[in-house]
Symmetry: C2
């Protein structure tokens, strides 16, 4: 995680205004909220559109992706990576099993548990979809210089990290996400 460019912290003095930085932070937070909102909606829509062409829902595709990247997982693990209730995860897996993209195998360590694993077909399908979606990203990046692309990556990752920190251990984390209000 390169948290780079503390060296450029001079920007406070660059700023001709005499606003305290807190006000700028508020303004930026509002702007970021709106900008991210737009970005997320447009991506959600586009992903749905793309993925549905492969007879897969977005949640199913995300589950498949998780299993391809992280290897066989138990239902609990999959559910917590996806921020879902185990019952929802179970039904998503049902659909993937029905479509032949995933199978459940017995967990040798625990006869209650099942490991969920992508099939060869499922893995291939995921790679196809991934290539398709990456082509979309490439098209979007075409107008940006390499420098800007790097900056975009860094920033998006930082925002994601910050969000993770505030959401508890999310995707990649296996601890259960439960709201104890």
């Amino acid at each position: 995680m390169p948290l780079q460019s503390d060296s450029d912290n001079k920007s406070d003095s660059d700023n001709p205004r005499d606003l305290p930085s807190g006000e700028n932070l508020d303004r930026d937070a509002r702007a970021l909220y709106d900008a991210l909102n737009q970005l997320i909606r447009v991506h959600q829509f586009r992903d749905r559109d793309r993925i549905c062409g492969y007879d897969l829902s977005v949640a199913q595709c995300y589950a498949l992706e998780t299993l391809v990247h992280q290897g066989p997982l138990r239902l609990q693990g999959l559910a917590s990576v996806m921020y879902l209730d185990k019952s929802t995860a179970s039904r998503v897996v049902d659909a993937l099993v029905r479509k032949g993209h995933v199978d459940r195998i017995a967990d040798p360590a625990d006869r209650r548990a099942a490991l969920i694993r992508p099939t060869v077909q499922g893995e291939a399908l995921y790679q196809t979809i991934r290539a398709d979606l990456i082509a979309e990203e490439r098209a979007m990046l075409e107008g940006l210089t390499p420098d800007m692309r790097q900056a975009a990556l860094t920033l998006i990752r930082q925002l994601t990290q910050a969000a993770h920190r505030r959401c508890g251990p999310g995707p990649g984390g296996l601890s259960p996400v439960q709201n104890e209000t």
Copy 2:
């Protein structure tokens, strides 16, 4: 596709590496795909969590937001801004009407049509939720310098614009202009 490529598409000479720019682009596209994926999932989850505390679904909140920002809309307009089928939009509006956040008023210009308009209560609720979500963004921005925050905004907006161009007339776009590319 006139993306706003500033000056040169072929800034190979800018790049100190000897990789052709296409390879870097591929690599960046993959990285961007993964990074955006993470960001979007985490945001989706967080928004759902936050919004549900106000007895509103995410789609309902988005519809309310659209109506607050854009003023009274017809169902068609709302549906196209939300990238939804009109039937889905109709049911989302039903829910909002039931909860008292929105009402349908007759369109004087067309007796078939109805204008959908947030109620005072709905507007207040949206502002509350918005403030809540913006506070989240602010917390995420705290670790970034003002420069980086500005850069993040610019980049996220550019990515959104690029995605819009590829998705046809999207949110904010009420223009019936279909893809002419």
